[in-house]
């Protein structure tokens, strides 16, 4: 088990090195000069030259990559082209806000999603199953902003219950107005629970069709015991791996959700970096997201290992 975790960690480091190199490469080597992209086609040659100097574009790529990567490891994320401020503190603050959103969304989605998955699997092909499954498929197929805007129209514009935006004023805490968090959390949770419900349903059906469940039925155990202790415990193993994947997926979805609600998270940071042509900000943001994604998958892998005795040796 320790061996596996160490190997898996080493693999993650390798992946992160690859990811950081790719991020750096995409920005620095692909056709088109970064300085020209940043400044637009109407910049004078002097302006382009000045920016090239500022970004150190004239030195070899590998040398620049090594310095950039070393800075990242040491916590130096570079300086934003837009604000001339260090990127690090802004980025950590945004990441923390995003993690709050993702964590609250998952806290709502995991119990509901798993419960719905179990109910639909146990009452498979019933009217209830069909209704829930169809709803869940539709929700999962929708872009996050369609769900988000639908909630805004109903809860903010029609019923005037909840604020439509999570805009945080400078100097204000995210928690100054907790009501603003409800709608974005709801959108994160809806997408996640739609996904978890489908995954749990599929693995529960597989578990309920297995030999050990038939044995349990023949032994005369209660239905509750069969479903909860025999089927669900085994069905949770693939579901847990999917929760990790779903966490990474929700990081992608957060980009859209944060834009809908003007939520000050890392997704909005990435979109703003693109709009401002702030390449150092974009690189740092993408790398942090990829790292969070990797950690999510790692936690899921280790978690499913801890749950599954067969894989432990």
């Amino acid at each position: 088990m320790v061996n596996f975790v160490v190997r898996r960690l080493a693999f993650m480091v390798v992946i992160l090195v690859g990811v950081s190199f790719l991020t750096f490469l995409i920005v620095n080597v692909l056709p088109g000069d970064v300085a020209t992209t940043i400044l637009g086609d109407f910049a004078s040659p002097e302006q382009v030259e000045a920016l090239r100097e500022r970004l150190d574009l004239d030195r070899p790529v590998l040398q620049r990559y090594a310095e950039w990567a070393a800075g990242m490891v040491g916590g130096d994320f570079g300086v934003s082209l837009k604000s001339n401020q260090p990127i690090g503190p802004i980025l950590w603050n945004r990441l923390a806000n995003s993690l709050v959103l993702a964590a609250m969304g998952m806290a709502v989605a995991i119990p509901i999603g798993i419960a719905l998955g179990v109910v639909t699997a146990v009452h498979r092909d019933s009217l209830l199953d069909r209704a829930i499954t169809a709803t869940v498929v539709v929700i999962f197929a929708l872009p996050e902003y369609v769900t988000g805007l639908a909630l805004i129209i109903v809860f903010s514009l029609e019923w005037n219950l909840l604020p439509a935006s999570s805009l945080v004023l400078p100097g204000q805490s995210l928690w100054a107005n907790p009501m603003t968090l409800i709608l974005p959390v709801a959108v994160v949770a809806l997408g996640m629970l739609a996904y978890l419900c489908q995954v749990t349903r599929a693995s529960m059906i597989a578990a309920l069709n297995s030999g050990y469940v038939r044995t349990a039925v023949l032994k005369g155990l209660t239905r509750r015991r069969i479903v909860v202790t025999h089927a669900l415990r085994n069905a949770m193993i693939p579901t847990l791996a999917e929760i990790g994947l779903g966490f990474g997926y929700s990081l992608g979805g957060l980009v859209v959700i944060e834009t809908v609600f003007s939520y000050p998270g890392i997704g909005q940071f990435l979109v703003q970096s693109i709009q401002n042509r702030d390449i150092p900000g974009l690189q740092a943001g993408v790398l942090v997201v990829a790292a969070a994604y990797g950690i999510g998958n790692l936690v899921a892998d280790v978690g499913s290992l801890a749950l599954n005795p067969r894989l432990r040796s």
Binding site: V14, I15, G18, V19, L22, T23, I26, L30, P31, G32, V34, T37, V122, D125, V137, V138, F140, A141, L142, P143, E144, Y145, V146, L149, I153, L157, A164, Q198, V199, A202, N209, V213, R214, V217, R223, I226, A231, E242, L245, G246, Y249, L251, G252, G253, V255, V256, T259, L270, V271, S273, I274, Q275, R277, I279, L282, V286, V289, A290, Y293, G294
Partner: protein, 286 residues
């Protein structure tokens, strides 16, 4: 107690289910029609301003109302099928093409080469799809070509992984041994023996991948990445309409409904095809 039913309980579909399935099968025809003839059947220009008719609510002249510049929303939505669906189609094609070639090579060749190819794919898979596409478009410049390339690139490792496992499975069959015994070369076996046996998987991958491409294009254009005004791409319509949500909700609601119908329809079409070709469930996010 009535224990959980053992084995699958397939009931023959009723007339309603059959009609539903027929509707789903006609869905791509509708999309093709919109893409091919959309700009020809719009009652108004999709881009010309009309200061005399700004923010009209839905009515007999302007079926779905107009936006703040007096542009007819119905015309914009119909014309927006092209910039939304064509990039989705093209990028799916590119992603599947590269994914199939890579997956086929990795799965069939195996060994060290397989290892190197798949580790490179793992690196690409460590980015959430939307974020990788954003990164590529932001650095290569926002236009239709980079949009298509970026989404194709995002699909490449995902498709490669699926095709690789199919190729590994097929490579174990006797007809491959037979071809080897006949003295056929590697390329012949890959493309003439294994590939023809994978069309089912490739078609299913294509339809489900297309559904997620529509979602990605719609999300990217909502973020204002990859397409720029006055292109009436559906996501961009929503983005531009959002500030007017309170004043003129129709400018947001109708594009959202169209996006919802097309996203859900594409997923269901992919599912129908998957069931037709009786493939096992695959991980939805993969």
């Amino acid at each position: 107690m009535a224990g959980p039913a053992p084995g699958p309980t397939a009931t023959p579909p009723g007339i309603g289910a059959r009609l539903g399935r027929l509707g789903i099968m006609l869905f791509p025809a509708l999309l093709l029609f919109l893409v091919a003839f959309g700009p020809l059947v719009t009652p108004f220009s999709a881009t010309a301003f009309d200061p005399a008719a700004t923010l009209r609510p839905p009515g007999p002249t302007y079926l779905l109302g107009t936006d703040e510049f007096g542009r007819d929303l119905f015309s914009r939505i119909v014309a927006g099928a092209q910039p939304t669906l064509l990039p989705a189609l093209a990028s799916t094609f590119i992603g599947i093409l590269f994914g199939t070639a890579t997956g086929l090579a990795a799965g069939f060749l195996g060994g060290r080469r397989d290892e190197v190819i798949m580790r490179a794919m793992d690196v690409l898979l460590s980015f959430p799809a939307l974020i990788l596409a954003m990164l590529i478009i932001a650095t290569l410049g926002a236009n239709m070509v980079t949009l298509v390339f970026a989404i194709g690139f995002v699909f490449w490792p995902r498709s490669a992984r699926l095709i690789r496992s199919a190729a590994m499975e097929l490579a174990r069959h006797e007809f491959v041994d037979a071809a080897r015994a006949r003295g056929e070369g590697t390329a012949y076996i890959m493309f003439r023996e294994i590939l023809p046996n994978m069309w089912g998987i490739i078609v299913v991958d294509f339809t489900l991948r297309f559904a997620s491409a529509v979602l990605l294009v719609a999300s990217l254009s909502y973020l204002g990445i990859g397409v720029s005004p006055p292109t009436p791409a559906w996501g961009l319509l929503v983005k531009e309409g959002q500030p007017l949500l309170q004043l003129a909700p129709w400018v947001v609601i109708f594009p959202c409904i169209v996006i919802a119908v097309v996203s859900v329809g594409s997923v269901m079409f992919g599912e129908v095809i998957r069931r037709r070709l009786t493939l096992p469930d695959r991980r939805i996010l993969a």
